[in-house]
């Protein structure tokens, strides 16, 4: 094999082999897992690999039928909702249309879009349901989001300074992030962010801080700006111009506009709530760069598990969160099909219990309240630092 001494492309600062080492240990093991020996962590890694292999062996026609059914239902709701809004002057039609369109947009964004873009359905080799071809009903272009989310966030989960999803460059979401007076607005920013979440993510995916720091080239920036510009115009036109324009034929233009605005806002608020419940509730840990240096496969799993939080609830709730209510399982196995997370969760929880690792979960209202409590607390300097760490430690001991 030829070796070039100079590379044209920069690799991540911490280089990783094709697959993480099976044995060894990171420079520092996170406090919640400090009681585990290298052998125990390696064994935990093997157990979780086995959980993954078991699903891979079972995955087949029923899973394929599942995602196709969800897509069909979602498109049906989308057409039905939009059609009802075209006669939105009728109050019942408006309510039904807005509700259907909201549900359609939520399904499209979470159970379908997020998961397809993770490559969860790539194994079907269907080019119409594939991570490399999918585009979603969300302002940020799928490719940009895949870079910041699949690559950066899922690789550096909760590593402060590496995973910018910790606060999205806007909020102070961890006590280890230095406080500035700007952070006083934490609750206000978050409240504004929720209903326009898709625009916030589109802005975030542009990686403006990286560009300013010289980590992102001007060509890449221009390419991304162009892509998001084109996408935003299309999205805006569909919901706020074309649909109301057609509805004007029945004198329902204004109502249709209110309907699409409401549906997007509902989807945004819901997605924001669910996503914030993934890593910000009390009990989830964040990590330092020393904790990922030399990380083994087992340690990687540990970080995903103690850095994520689930939402408990009904089957319908899991569907509507795109199974991100199984955030712990999703982070361990981001490319397993989402319909399998529920059965995987039973095993992952048992493994966590057996190894004395925290497994954070709770009903939606409780988890949402917990994330908001953090948003408020961290608006102020140096509050909660002690109590948060202590909480993580007690959770780890339980």
């Amino acid at each position: 094999m030829t070796t070039l001494t100079e590379r044209t492309e920069t690799k991540p600062a911490v280089t990783r082999p094709g697959a993480l080492a099976a044995t060894g240990h990171p420079l520092v093991r996170p406090p919640a897992a400090a009681h585990l020996s290298d052998e125990q962590v390696a064994e935990l890694g093997r157990e979780l690999d086995a959980v993954r292999d078991e699903v891979l062996a079972k995955r087949g026609a029923t899973d394929a039928a599942y995602i196709r059914r969800v897509i069909k239902v979602q498109r049906g709701l989308e057409i039905g909702g939009r059609a009802a809004l075209l006669v939105g002057r009728n109050k019942a039609a408006w309510v039904a249309g807005t509700a259907m369109l909201s549900v359609a947009k939520i399904l499209e964004n979470m159970e379908i879009g997020h998961n397809v873009l993770h490559g969860q359905w790539d194994w079907m080799r269907d080019p119409d349901i594939h991570s490399t071809t999918w585009e979603w009903d969300f302002v940020t272009p799928a490719r940009s989001w895949q870079h910041t989310h699949n690559d950066l966030h899922h690789r550096w989960t909760n590593v402060v300074g590496k995973d910018r999803d910790v606060g999205y460059n806007l909020l102070r979401m961890d006590a280890d992030q230095p406080w500035t007076p700007f952070n006083l607005g934490n609750p206000l920013y978050n409240a504004i962010l929720a209903p326009v979440f898709e625009w916030g993510i589109a802005l975030y995916d542009l990686e403006i801080p990286e560009y300013k720091e010289g980590l992102k080239s001007k060509e890449d920036m221009n390419r991304d700006l162009k892509a998001v510009g084109v996408k935003a115009v299309k999205q805006f036109t569909k919901d706020y111009a074309a649909t109301p324009a057609v509805a004007m034929l029945t004198g329902s233009g204004k109502q249709a506009l209110y309907g699409t605005l409401a549906a997007n806002a509902i989807r945004n608020v819901w997605a924001h709530a669910v996503i914030f419940c993934g890593h910000f509730p009390e009990g989830t840990d964040t990590f330092t760069e020393e904790m990922v240096e030399g990380e083994t496969r087992g340690d990687w799993y540990v970080r995903q598990m103690i850095g994520s939080a689930n939402i408990s609830g009904s089957k319908f709730m899991h569907l509507m969160t795109g199974n991100l209510s199984h955030q712990v399982e999703h982070h361990c196995f981001p490319d397993l099909p989402s319909n399998r997370y529920a059965e995987v969760a039973v095993k992952v929880k048992e493994i966590c219990n057996r190894y004395g690792l925290p497994y954070t979960t709770g009903p939606l209202p409780k988890q949402v309240a917990s994330t908001w409590a953090k948003v408020f607390k961290l608006a102020l300097p140096d509050t909660g630092r002690f109590s948060l760490k202590k909480k993580a430690e007690t959770a780890g001991a339980s």
Partner: protein, 360 residues
């Protein structure tokens, strides 16, 4: 058609990021022109383990030439598999493939296909086609190797009285012999076709070690343009016999010398013992690198200066997906050796298992 397309584009203002056809496909999958599909119109049983599947292709198909093949996609347990099959229908007719049960994919096609089923398609291709100018022909086929030649016979024999075709077809027994009756009928009806059936269970295989068999069955074989299709060994032996023929004097060359055109059904690129690497070819970048069996193809490509898509480099983000053209790869996580032409592989966790061609 143009107006329809314009209408569809206009309608996509309301359906973006989906295309209007994605919505139409809810009602009938054939409306998708992004993925070429065909609807099965007829399934005819040929022998106990083979059938001919006739289908009507959707938009995007181009008419096949006699002898060409097409990639056919079918779903097995939720996973799309592609295989190449020769088209056995005459040129100018709706396409048909003749499939013999010889593996997982062909087995499902033979046993489960029924009219109304949808097949995924790629447009026909292949160089195993009739010569541009009329010439006396010799067709040497064995087993399912008859399929592309059948298309040629069906195209040529009924329409061209001036054709001169000799077909020597080998099959194990009469019951295994594809198109037996039809070939005999054609030979009775048209004087431009002469058919010899060889049943290898009775008389043994056609012998290419010397020219004795050919001299007996087709004395003027040296003056004919020859076409051969069948198993690897059959073709290798035929090639060797033709290669051993002395060069004719220059004035006879090109026009009268017997040429042999062959069609192989498979090139076996299956991996070594697992940890053996192989020659990796980046087809679009026109680079070749020897890789060992433990280095991710992503690193192999990057080290060779190929612009590789990449992401997490640990098999979770799927940013590095690259279409495999040929060969097999080993999943560095599970040790599993896998790979089919067209499959998208994660280069960051896949190593070469034997020679590998990538579409990059």
């Amino acid at each position: 058609m143009i107006r329809l397309r314009r209408l569809a584009r206009a309608a996509s203002v309301l359906t973006t990021p989906l295309a209007a056809e994605d919505i139409l496909a809810l009602f009938n999958p054939v409306y998708s022109s992004r993925q070429l599909r065909g609807v099965v119109t007829k399934v005819v049983s040929e022998t106990p383990d083979s059938v001919t599947i006739h289908f009507h292709p959707g938009w995007g198909w181009k008419a096949h030439q006699a002898g060409q093949w097409a990639r056919i996609g079918v779903e097995l347990d939720g996973v799309r598999h592609w295989r190449s099959y020769s088209l056995s229908a005459a040129a100018g007719e709706d396409p048909a493939i003749t499939v013999t049960d010889a593996g997982a994919v062909s087995g499902v096609l033979v046993r489960n296909t029924k009219p109304g089923d949808v097949l995924f398609l790629a447009p026909p291709q292949g160089e195993f086609v009739l010569p541009d100018h009329p010439r006396p022909l010799l067709m040497l086929t064995a087993g399912s190797g008859i399929t592309p030649v059948m298309s040629m016979v069906r195209t040529l024999v009924p329409r061209r009285p001036d054709a001169d075709v000799v077909l020597i077809h080998s099959a194990r027994t009469p019951a295994d012999s594809l198109f037996l009756e039809e070939l005999n009928e054609l030979a009775d009806q048209f004087s431009n076709l002469r058919v010899t059936h060889l049943f290898t269970a009775e008389r043994g295989r056609l012998d290419f070690q010397s020219d004795a068999d050919l001299e007996l069955l087709c004395p003027d074989w040296r003056e004919r343009a020859a076409y051969a299709c069948g198993p690897e060994g059959f073709l290798d032996d035929a090639e060797a016999l033709w290669a051993a023929q002395p060069e004719l004097p220059a004035e006879h060359a090109a026009t009268e010398r017997s040429t042999l055109t062959i069609e192989r059904f498979s090139t076996n690129l299956a991996g070594g013992d697992g940890h053996d690497g192989g020659l990796v070819q980046f087809e679009a970048s026109d680079r070749e690198v020897e890789a060992d069996g433990d280095t991710p193809l992503l690193d192999v490509g990057e080290d060779a200066g190929v612009l590789m898509p990449s992401g997490c480099r640990m098999g979770i983000c799927h940013s590095c997906l690259t279409p495999l053209r040929a060969g097999q790869v080993r999943d560095l996580r599970t040790g599993e050796v896998h790979g089919e032409p067209g499959q998208l592989i994660q280069t960051c966790v896949s190593a070469a298992a034997g020679p590998v061609n990538l579409d990059l």
